[in-house]
């Protein structure tokens, strides 16, 4: 608390001990957000394989159908669901809707994410 260096102050949101649900939601949103930005640019780079023609792209797709990559897909989807649904909660409360119910909203949306993730994972691995 006596440390006023900017990096230390900018990373205080990471310490969620003794914090309430809203703070956990914020930290989760930020972490998934950072991960998704990294994924976005990785994905855009991978798309350049399309410029190398069917050979390059189709070999990549074959790789992407492996269990390891499918698992990564499920993790990606988890990040998307958490960030997206929590983001909807932030949008709603930010417009003044459901502010009193923000904790319940977070819990419900995370349960919905978990269910959606489970269903999607089953479909992903069955393909």
């Amino acid at each position: 608390m006596h440390d006023y260096r900017k990096v230390s102050r900018a990373s205080r949101w990471l310490d969620v001990r003794r914090r309430k649900l809203g703070m956990w939601a914020y930290a989760l949103n930020r972490i998934t957000g950072i991960a998704l930005v990294v994924y976005l640019y990785l994905h855009l780079v991978v798309l350049s394989l399309l410029l190398r023609g069917p050979g390059a792209w189709d070999s990549f797709v074959a790789l992407a159908r492996s269990p390891f990559y499918l698992t990564l897909d499920v993790i990606l989807l988890a990040g998307i669901l958490i960030h997206g649904l929590n983001g909807l909660r932030i949008a709603l409360t930010g417009f003044g809707i459901g502010v009193g119910a923000q904790k319940a909203l977070f819990t419900i949306l995370m349960i919905v994410s978990a269910i959606a993730l489970w269903v999607a994972a089953l479909k992903i691995f069955r393909i």
Binding site: K6, V7, R9, A10, W13, R30, G33, I34, L36, V37, L40, L44, L47, S48, L50, L51, G53, P54, W57, D58, V61, A64, R65, D73, L77, I80, G84, G87, L88, I90, A91, G94, F95, K123, I124, I127
Partner: protein, 120 residues
């Protein structure tokens, strides 16, 4: 008597609003994109011929371009929010905005470029 810095009206900002609009847009567009590219084609992921056919559909092309614009805007606004938490000076803030605008334009240009090369 020194001026109260908090009593001066600042410049209004719409960044958060754009973040929310693109975010809500993404729930729909990303949802469609994910489903279309993971679950619709036989075998889930699309091979080269399937990607070309997919992007040549005019409606799909519009949605994917809109998706690209939304996701780039949303991602870079998010990055900007994180950097703002490092308490940059006014000058640093302006530089940050300039850099992010350039990155955004380059990202969208790249995406459009790759799409064009694939479908022509």
């Amino acid at each position: 008597m020194t001026e109260n810095p908090f009593a001066e009206e600042p410049k209004p900002t719409s960044a958060w609003l754009w973040q929310v609009f693109t975010g809500v847009g993404l729930v729909i567009l990303l949802g469609l994109h994910f489903i279309a590219n993971h679950f619709v084609a036989k075998g889930g992921l699309r091979d080269f011929t399937e990607v070309v056919a997919y992007l040549r559909d005019p409606l799909i092309l519009c949605l994917e371009v809109l998706f690209l614009l939304c996701v780039t805007t949303h991602a870079l606004l998010g990055v900007r929010a994180i950097f703002l938490d490092f308490g940059p000076s006014e000058l640093a803030e302006r530089r940050l905005d300039q850099v992010l605008k350039v990155v955004g334009v380059l990202t969208v240009a790249y995406g459009l470029g790759v799409t064009w090369m694939v479908i022509r």
